[in-house]
């Protein structure tokens, strides 16, 4: 079975531009979470979607938005990019069932560089 897939793997943008990152969860998983990881730090929670509804939002500005589609894939959008948005963006999926209901499985990430 395929794991969590993210695209693109690398992206270079300039300040003020908009970016869309994509994530496909593990087959059968209905929950998708997004994290931002700045170099040298642990990942920081951005959004979580379950059954196409937003269930959690981290401390990020309104320039960040996301959505989940009927097939449970997800997009993360960032508007008006700033230099500080340069980071590794990670997507994680989980399958809320059984005893390990919230064990997260991460994709390889999208490395975003803002120039």
């Amino acid at each position: 079975d395929a794991g969590v897939t993210q695209s693109p793997t690398h992206l270079i943008k300039t300040r003020g531009q908009h970016v869309t990152l994509r994530c496909s969860p593990i087959s059968g998983h209905k929950s998708v979470s997004w994290y931002q990881q700045v170099l040298g730090q642990g990942p920081q929670f951005i959004f979580q979607y379950y059954e196409k509804e937003e269930r959690g939002r981290g401390n990020f500005p309104d320039r960040f938005s996301a959505r989940q589609f009927p097939n449970y894939s997800s997009e993360l959008n960032v508007n008006a990019l700033l230099l500080g948005d340069s980071a590794l963006y990670l997507c994680a999926s989980s399958f809320p069932a059984g005893t390990e209901v919230e064990k997260l499985f991460f994709g390889s990430g999208t490395q975003l560089s803002v120039l």
């Binding site: 929950s31 730090q41 989980s94 991460f106 390889s108």
Partner: protein, 113 residues
């Protein structure tokens, strides 16, 4: 919000050595996971362990929820164990965490041949 502190921040070992990584957290949790981030950035889930003890090959983990800490043991370390180890938690007070985890700063492990 909940605070997560990992120690040590850096660890250098010779192949074959054993190590213990620690994670302290500031509040009761209902979700605790250990991850290994390899040099290519991939985060691998090692354990889902909000309480108790689990073992998987050379790795084992113990969470003492009442004392708010978790330990990750690596035995007979190999060069492929190198990378960053993260502990991530969700507070019990929040109910279902819905994938919202707070990560520690990580422990950077380097295993030399």
């Amino acid at each position: 919000g909940i605070q997560v502190e990992q120690s040590p921040p850096d660890l250098i070992l010779q192949e074959g050595a054993n190590s213990t990584l620690r994670c302290n957290f500031s509040d009761s949790v209902n979700n605790l996971q250990w991850f290994h981030q390899n040099p290519w950035g991939q985060l691998i889930n090692l354990f889902y362990i909000p309480s108790g003890t689990k073992q998987n090959g050379r790795l084992s983990a113990t969470t003492v929820a009442t004392e708010r800490y978790s330990l990750l043991y690596i035995s007979s370390s190999q060069t492929t164990d190198s990378g960053v180890y993260f502990c991530a938690v969700a507070p019990r007070a929040g109910g279902t965490s819905y994938g919202k985890l707070t990560f520690g700063q990580g422990t950077i492990l380097t295993v030399h041949p």
